[in-house]
Symmetry: C2
Subunit: 220 residues, 2 copies
């Protein structure tokens, strides 16, 4: 059987919540094709590099974060991606609390920004399709995993938690039912800390028991 070689890239959909909006990290492409257009951070696999390693490397290089929720999304065919021939891309998605992101100096030339997933600019390649796919996956992951832990700071209020769900699912949830259900899941625990300083009743702060992916039985 003949052996062929392909170009393989990874692209990462990095989600965060900022100002109550779900946003995705985009960078401006420095090179052709699609020079100066917005695109997902990504790049070619280096020689013998494992795809997941490449995704972790890119996450570190562009957003300065590591050790966050990340999973493989799908491998997209290259149709039309690149004039020079087919390129397949292994897409990942990652969740980061806004506070942990430090845009790296090396990446600043590419003017990385977070854009609302609801108001995306024109985007290079088929990255729009990838983002749509990632959003669907994220929504369904909320329903049967503890993935949110990776969008929230270490200590958070129940309302922050609920807001994350509402923002991602784009719908209101009942406060009492949400608290009841989520607390029964046993994923989080009450801490002794209290969030003060706003001009209203202080809020109790919670934290996740686990800071790594876990599956649940059921959910929302």
């Amino acid at each position: 059987m003949p052996r062929f070689y392909q170009s393989v890239t990874t692209d990462i959909v990095i989600f965060t919540i900022e100002e109550s909006i779900l946003k995705v990290l985009l960078i401006k492409r420095a090179k052709e094709p699609f020079k100066d257009q917005w695109a997902l951070p990504g790049g070619f696999l280096t020689e013998n590099e494992e795809p997941e390693k490449a995704a972790i490397r890119i996450l570190k290089d562009k957003a300065g974060v590591s050790n966050i929720y990340m999973e493989q999304l799908y491998t997209f065919p290259g149709s039309g991606r690149d004039p020079r021939g087919n390129v397949i891309t292994i897409a990942y998605f990652a969740l980061v609390p806004r506070s942990r992101i430090e845009i790296q100096e090396t990446a600043k030339a590419q003017t990385p920004i977070f854009r609302s997933v609801k108001k995306l600019p024109d985007i290079a390649f088929d990255h729009n399709r990838i983002i749509t796919y990632a959003l669907k996956r994220l929504q369904s992951k909320l329903e049967y995993t503890n993935a949110v832990y990776s969008l929230l700071p270490k200590y958070f209020t129940f309302n922050q938690l609920q807001n994350a769900y509402e923002i991602i699912l784009s719908r209101k949830l009942d406060k009492r039912n949400f608290r009841k259900k989520f607390f029964q899941l046993g994923l989080i625990k009450l801490t002794k800390k209290i969030h003060r300083g706003e001009r209203q009743r202080p809020a109790k702060l919670y934290q996740f028991k686990l800071h790594r992916p876990a599956e649940l039985k059921k959910f929302f």
Copy 2:
């Protein structure tokens, strides 16, 4: 950024039900590495071939089927797959009713056989891992899609349907509850055909309304 090239393969986990056992198609490797060991059908992408096209091609070449339920499973890294260097593999899984499979002449040298997923022989590469992953995916797909349609013949009895679920999920289901729930889903319709010839009460035959993938709200 430098551009590297990778070898990319596809492997397909082809499931079928035969004699009330869930089985996977394996072939004997004709070449090194892992010559004469059992492996999933698969192969290198040809030049500029889209991964899904390659999977369809292999399905046709080895098992003689087309137009069945198939979806991308995951892209596995090549660690240790091939002594000559890293190879990544894009894995797919497919569901075929046993009756539709015609092992192709061209493939017979590789002595393809269906083996029970519960009693697999020694398998080349990391294909065991891929099969395990595929099985998990299949089980969860049963719960929120109509995927079974692709394991059953055109006309089938309610018991065949239930057996398919029981075999894949490895647990007994309550007959009355299963019928009630499944019928409410509205995926199948009663036909006027009747299955006779066994020495017991004849069974009504049903068929799926759709013979393509569909998502449901909920399930089992």
